[in-house]
Structures are given as C-alpha cells and as structure tokens.
C-alpha cells in the first residue's frame, strides 16, 4: 500500500530502517564525505557486451503490463522491454528524447492537437514479429481507458482526449480522439488546451505500442492479462513461449529478461546500447541481506530500497559500489481550508520553526538527501528557476536549522501577542515507524501548539489525510514522486485548487489560489522546454512564498552494485537502467 500511493520507494520502510541505524547514520555525518568518491552511475565508454545481470529486489513489481505499470520498480522492466514515443536518457532527466517518435511532438497553437511522427524499423518481438505502426501506438493509448486495463495515469493526462467517454464505459474500443492518417503519423485531439502537458506524458510506458490483433483477446477479459502474455519492442523481452505466454515472469518470484530478437538496435535511432545478454531478477527476501549479497557478490544490482546499514557500509567501505540520485521531494502540507492555517502568518511561523537539519538527521543524515528550500527537486526542470539549492531567499526558510525568533515574530503578526500559539488544538496524523513525524510534533509543541496526534500505519494515514472531510490539519509524512519529470507532474496534483478531490485527494494543503491556478494553466500550455521550465520554476516559488506547505527534504536515493558491475542510473527513475548497465 505504501508504494501504491507514493508509487515508488516504500517510504515508511526506508525511513524505519534508517531510524534503526540512526546512531550509525547520524553521528558519523557531522563532517561527512557526502560529496565525493561514490559511483557516478553515468554511462561509460568502451563498455563490454554480454553476460547475465542479476537484479535482486525485496518486493515485486506491480502490474507488469506496460499499459498498467506504475511502480518505479516496474519501470526498470518496462524501460528495457518497451519503446515508448519518448524517453529520458539516463544521465539527463530533464529532456525527453524521441525514441519511437522521430522528432519532438508538434502541439497546435490552440493547444488542442498534438501530432507525432514515428520511426519505421521497430518491430514486435516473437510471436507477433511484425513492424510497428502508428495504429499500435493508438491501441496502446486507447487500452489505457478500457475497464479491463484501467491505467492509473492515462485518464489524468490524456483524459481530455475526444471520445474517451464511450471507451471508459466499455461501449467501444475505438477512441475517436486519436487518429492515424498513415502508418507513421499519430494525431491526438483534445477537448481542452492541455496538449502541451499531454505531450510530456508521452514518456510513460503506456505510449509503447501494443499489437491489437494479438492483445485483443487478453484485453477482452474482465481483467486483462495481456501483461502475462506481452510482447516487447525494446532491446529486451520477458522470456516467453511460442504462444507468447510470458513464462519468464513468475509473480512474486522471478523475472527473466532475454534479448529481443526483433529489436533493430542503434540503426533505428534507439539510443539504448543493451550490453548484457540476459537479466535474471529474483524477488523477495530481507532487504539488508540482499544489500549484503549485492555488495559481496558478482553481477548483482539492487532493485528497490537499500536499507540504512547497507548504505553506511557501502558509503564508508566500498564507495564505488554505491550511487546517490536525487528523486522526489518531501514536505509538510498545512491544511489551509480552515483555521489556524488559513492565516499565512501562522503558516510562515511554522515553516520558520521547523528544524530541517534535524529531519535530515533522523532520516539518516547527509547521505540520504538534502534540506529542501522549495518543492521542485534537483534534476527537475524548473529547479534552478525556483532558486536551486539555496532557494530564493524567503526569510522563513532561510535557516535550515529553524529560526524560532522569526517564528515568534510571525505569530505575533498573526495576533498571538506573546509569540506563542495559543489558539485551539490542531490535529496531526503521523506514520508509525517514522521518526520524522515525532520530530515535527515536537517542534509544533515548542511553538505552543496543542496537538491531537495520532500515529497510524501508512495506509491508515493516507486514509485520513487524503480525505478532506476528515479535516486533518497537518500530515508531516508527505512527499511526491512525479509520473514524469515535469513541473506539472510535480505541482499540479499537490497544489492546484482544481485537483482537490473528496477522495484520494493529493492536494493536502488544499491550496486554492486563483493566481497560482491560472499560472499553472498557462504553464501547462507551454511547449518550449526552457520556457516551460522557467514558468514552472516560478510557480514553485509562488507556492513556496505562500507557505502552503513546508518543504523539508529532497531525497537522494541510494543504489548499490556488485564490484564487477558498471551500473548506469536512469536519473529520471532513481534506479538502475538495465539497457545501459554492463558487466566487467
């Protein structure tokens, strides 16, 4: 459940394991070498071809159907087996590069039409074994709307396509809003001007082509099992039998990837080198044991969370076996829909009071991330425009260790004459096993707040905080991993007033500022990457200035490799890139 909402790193577990090693992690990091010596995870020259790469993960992927895949972990597989229209190069998480597409998407001036031209040369793996056409991309995107597939993000970003209604109802399999005038052209028509943002979403695996004549019978079932029979267009494929059954995937146990014989390789324009011959992925076990096995063994890389003791061990004794990649953000949303956090001064006071270095410490110290000064994390487009690492100098975020004096001042401005909060009690829901929640609770109390605090499991915490009707004031254990690396994906769901939903709400601050909303709408329409980054960076700053939430932390995700592995990190995913990693 943890991963489903936050989609990726099991947040609670990672923190819990860190908390266990807090003395170890924290105390050594006083004057720590977080700067240097770790593996860079960048692509290398002269990498060797061949061998079997072994991936070990404690948890399973979610839906292995690329039209349903949603976990960071699953993306490791889909980015190796599928060829979406666009993709990120491992070292550059900001710029989507055409892969199946031939060139950047063309967005019409009114923002309602997106046209993509696709390359020839790509083929489906056996048993389908034929050339990919634009119709296959159309089917891939359409099936995301089928009830039997029910893709989790397609309706968000492409839901404005014309004609999705009947498809969602199950009345038809034909999505009128996607047209294919010829085998190499795809035209998407939207009912609103969301085109520029929708185009960004085409990096997602749902845009990887799916052969309708083959997949139809699987999609016709109540719940599609195409995933267990999928074909591939990428350099690798899940090992399958002659009928197409993906026997290489044993849920909860194993994934076996082999080379896709139909993949055209570099001559088609695909930038993926695909060094290793096979990938043997085992699922399950204790994360610390797995970490040790990776560090001590050969040919191995981790799939999911690396627990704190392993991070410490690698970071001190075998630096070239561990890399750190920034991914996602963490912040403390403050419920602005009712007092006391409807008052900006109270919010700024809280923001000033939070000691973010202490939060960093309990999470495991400098190795595990950086103190945040705004919301877009390093590596996202707009990060620099929002102020970069230092931030843009808002006074209530100027001191990472907190500024109690400033907090008192703001409280006085809010009408609490003695600089301490003396209003009604507030409600706070933290996560058990999360020491950060405790720290935040502490700091609120130091400001004079009386707090009705509950510590719940991750799921229950989400159950309370994601439902506005439950009226929780503060939920300290929140953060965001975007669906794709774009300002919209980071900030819309979390800070746009229109995103507030009665159930499964993601805008926990319930920020509903018309100017910010309008700015987001405008930024969503921008097609030029630089302009877009600039615009979203400024929006980030606006949200920061409004103190809708307290930005606390930008995670650095650790990943470990065996000694003989030349691992390459897909920075957009914070995980290894199977198509670039090689063995010595």
């Amino acid at each position: 459940m943890t991963s489903t909402i936050l989609r990726r790193i099991p947040v609670g577990i990672g923190i819990a394991l860190c908390a266990v090693a807090i003395a170890a992690c924290g105390s050594d990091d006083g004057d720590d070498d977080s700067g240097g010596g770790f593996a860079s995870g960048l692509p290398v020259e002269g990498a060797k071809k061949g061998g079997t790469l072994k991936v070990v993960s404690a948890s399973d992927v979610d839906q292995i159907d690329p039209g349903q895949a949603y976990y960071q972990l699953t993306y490791l597989v889909t980015s190796a087996t599928q060829t979406p229209l666009y993709a990120y190069k491992p070292e550059d998480p900001e710029t989507p590069v055409p892969v199946l597409a031939e060139s950047d998407p063309r967005v019409s001036p009114d923002g309602r039409t997106v046209t993509v031209k696709i390359r020839s040369g790509f083929r489906f793996s056996p048993p389908v074994d034929r050339a990919v056409t634009s119709k296959d991309v159309k089917y891939a995107l359409t099936r995301g709307f089928f009830p039997s597939v029910a893709n989790q993000y397609v309706q968000n970003y492409l839901g404005a396509l014309e004609g999705t209604g009947p498809v969602v109802e199950g009345d038809t399999r034909e999505l009128s809003g996607i047209q294919t005038p010829d085998d190499r052209t795809l035209v998407l028509r939207f009912t609103t001007d969301i085109g520029a943002t929708a185009a960004q979403a085409l990096v997602l695996p749902a845009s990887a082509p799916v052969p309708e004549e083959y997949a139809r019978r699987f999609d016709a079932k109540k719940q599609s099992d195409y995933g267990f029979n999928q074909v591939a267009t990428g350099p690798y494929m899940i090992r399958n039998d002659a009928q197409g059954k993906a026997v290489g995937y044993q849920p909860g146990r194993r994934i076996e990837l082999v080379r896709n014989p139909s993949w055209p390789g570099a001559e088609s324009g695909d930038f993926r080198p695909a060094y290793v011959d096979r990938v043997d992925w085992t699922i399950g076990g204790n994360p610390t044991v797995i970490g040790r096995q990776v560090l001590n063994g050969r040919d191995m890389i981790n799939g999911d969370t690396v627990p704190a003791p392993i991070v410490k061990q690698a970071a001190t004794r075998s630096k070239e076996q561990i890399t750190f990649t920034p991914l996602g953000n963490r912040f403390i949303p403050l419920n602005m829909s009712e007092p006391p956090f409807d008052d900006v001064n109270v919010r700024k006071a809280v923001a000033a009071a939070i000691d973010r270095t202490r939060l960093q410490l309990v999470r495991g110290g400098k190795l595990t991330g950086k103190v945040a000064t705004h919301f877009l994390p390093p590596g996202s487009p707009g990060f620099e425009a929002a102020g970069g690492l230092e931030g843009s100098g808002h006074d209530f975020l100027a001191k990472p260790e907190g500024d109690m004096q400033l907090a008192a001042e703001y409280l006085r401005k809010a009408g609490f004459s003695n600089g301490r909060y003396s209003g009604p009690a507030i409600s706070m829901v933290g996560t058990e096993d999360d020491p950060g929640s405790q720290v935040v609770l502490d700091q609120f109390r130091r400001l004079g707040f009386r707090v009705n605090y509950r510590s719940l499991s991750q799921e229950a915490m989400f159950g309370a905080c994601a439902v506005p009707a439950r009226k929780v004031d503060v939920c300290p254990n929140y953060g965001w991993l975007p669906d794709f690396n774009d300002g919209y994906a980071y900030l819309y769901g979390t800070f746009n007033g229109k995103a507030i939903a009665p159930q499964q709400n993601s805008n926990w601050s319930q920020l509903n500022d018309p100017r910010i909303n309008a700015a987001m709408d405008r930024a969503a329409r921008i097609t030029d990457p630089e302009e877009r980054a600039e615009a979203w960076g400024r929006i980030d700053d606006q949200i920061t200035a409004a103190a809708a939430a307290v930005p606390t932390y930008w995670d650095d995700v650790p990943n470990v490799q065996s000694r003989n592995v030349r691992g390459v990190i897909a920075r957009w995913n914070g995980a290894w890139d199977l198509s670039f990693t090689s063995l010595e």
Binding site: D65, P147, D225, G252, G284, Q504
Partner: protein, 320 residues
C-alpha cells in the same frame, strides 16, 4: 467410525466457511485501504475509481461479493485474481506450495530427530548435567526470535555473506525437480532455524511427559517383570508420553503448512508464508483470502488427523 468421520468432515467445511466469511468481513470493516482506490492510483478521476471498482466487483454489497467468491471457489476452484499483479491466486498458491512443503517437512524431521532424543535423555538423567545443559539451551532456542536467528545464521554461515561460508545463503532455493542438490543445500539453514525453537519446545515437552509417565504404576510393573531399563523407558514410558507429542506435531505441521512467514522471508524461500506476507503488505484481498483459506484448511485437516491418530494411539479413547 464412518459416522464420526462424516461428522468431522462436515465440521471441516463449516469451519472453512466461517473462516472465509470472517476474513471477508475483517477486510471490509477495518479501515485499512480501499483496493479500488489503491489500484486506481494517486490522482484518479472519479470515473477511474468507479471503473476499477466495478471491474473488481467491489461495487456490489459485501454479501454479494462473498457469494460470488464462494461460488467461484466451490464450482471452479477459482480463487480470483491478485489486485496487485492480476495473477490468478490459485496458480500463485499452488506454485508456492512445494517450497512450503519442503520447508515444513524437513523442519519437522529435524526437530523430532533432535528434540525427542534430547527430551528422553533429559528425563532419564533428570537434574544431572546433561539435563540442565539441554534445558538451558532449549530455553535460549525457544526465546530467540526466529527472524533474528535467521539473520544471525545468514551472517555467520551463508556462503555469500557469512563469516564462515558453509551453506548456501538466502535466495538460493531451487525446486527439487530442477536441481535436487541446490534444493537440499538451500534448505539446510532454514530448516535448522525453523527447527530450533520447535526442537527445544518438544524436548521440554517430552521431558515433562516422560517424567510423568515414568512415575505411573505400569512402569513399576514393567520393571517387576524384569524388563531391561532401556525397554522400560522406550517401550512403556515413551509409548505413553508420546501421545501429547503426536497431537502437538499434528497441529504444528498444520500451522506451518499455512506458511512459515518469518523464515520464508529472511531466506527468501518462495512459500505460501511469504506470499501471505506480501499480500498483507499490499492489502491484496484475493491473495490474503486464498492464503488464509489454505492455512485454515491445513490446520483443520491437521486437527482431524490428530484426533484420529489420538484414537489410534490411545485405545481407551476409541470405546468412548
């Protein structure tokens, strides 16, 4: 006898029905997570949630869902599909069964082979140093948390990460049909860890039972007949002392067949226990339901077998 058996089998069915109903009820009444919402992602449109809900059959009232589940189960032996991975639950469980059977079987043999002789020696040498040593070690073995013991075993003896690389470490399980040698090697450490606390418990249990049995009058008679002490202990004493052991073994095996979660997780043995654990973590009801039913089935059957065995062992029970 036939009547008794028939009644007991009816009880088995009734119990399994009750277990399945209660599991269903728990899942739906406890405020953990809405599977449709989970499956639908983070910012789902209301339509998507509704779509998923309908597809998973969650829009129906609980009793309708229960009825559908039971109908599919009884008529087609269909346990539904995992919310998490969409894989058919029945296949997943059957796929995991051999590993659990291997783990349980080996552990039982080991803990009986260790525990019973230790128990006998302890009873016969009561209060002397073999007894005190054995009972002391037993106390430690029972008290040690299994998970911790497993980790310690790996960090000491695993051939990939251990200090004294002796035995295959975690994640080395192969099905016996594929590689018998690897299968055996991968299970030695898990067997030892799993058997440790059980062996200790059984040693203590047998010791207590045997001491009691040996104070009975028929032991005096056996000695008066001139039987060698060894036969007095083994043939007369053990025969009586073993009865509670048989009961407990049956129940323990029944429980373990539902999956030894902790051992399976530490050593990454792909058994039902691990499957259940993963399912609980991700609120995957169909899988949870399936593993719970399987576990309940084994326990109930084990109970039945134990009762029958008891009647076979203790003739006084038969005529009752």
């Amino acid at each position: 006898m036939a009547g008794y058996l028939a009644r007991r089998l009816l009880w088995v069915v009734a119990l399994l029905l009750a277990v399945s109903a209660i599991t269903f009820a728990i899942f739906y009444t406890l405020p953990s997570a809405d599977p449709a919402a989970m499956r639908a992602g983070r910012q789902p449109t209301p339509q998507l949630i509704a779509q998923v809900r309908e597809n998973l059959g969650l829009d129906q009232p609980v009793y309708v869902q229960y009825w559908r589940y039971m109908r599919d189960l009884v008529l087609h032996f269909d346990f539904g599909f995992s919310y998490q991975s969409n894989a058919p639950v029945r296949e997943q469980i059957l796929d995991r069964l051999p590993a659990t059977l291997s783990l349980t079987g080996g552990a039982v043999v080991l803990w009986l082979a260790i525990g019973l002789p230790v128990g006998v020696i302890s009873a016969v040498r009561r209060r002397r140093w073999p007894d005190r040593l054995a009972m002391g070690l037993a106390l430690v073995a029972i008290s040690a948390p299994v998970y911790w013991l497993g980790l310690v075993a790996l960090y000491l003896f695993a051939d990939d990460i251990g200090r004294f690389p002796l035995l295959p470490g975690a994640n080395s399980y192969e099905p016996i049909s594929q590689d018998p040698a690897a299968w055996l090697g991968s299970l030695v450490l898990p067997w030892l860890v799993l058997a440790a606390s059980f062996a200790a418990f059984y040693a203590r249990l047998l010791r207590a039972n045997l001491l009691e049995a040996m104070s009975e009058d028929y032991i005096r008679t056996a000695r008066a007949k001139g039987l060698p002490e060894r036969q007095v202990v083994l043939r007369h004493g053990m025969r009586a002392a073993i009865t509670p052991i048989v009961t407990v073994v049956g129940l323990d095996v029944g429980i373990l067949l539902g999956g030894a979660v902790l051992v399976e997780t530490v050593f990454n043995v792909p058994g039902i226990g691990r499957l259940a654990y993963d399912a609980i973590r991700t609120a995957d009801l169909p899988v949870i339901q399936g593993t719970v039913l399987f576990g309940a089935f084994f326990i109930v059957v084990a109970n039945l077998v134990v009762d029958l065995a008891y009647a076979w062992i203790d003739p006084r029970v038969r005529t009752a």
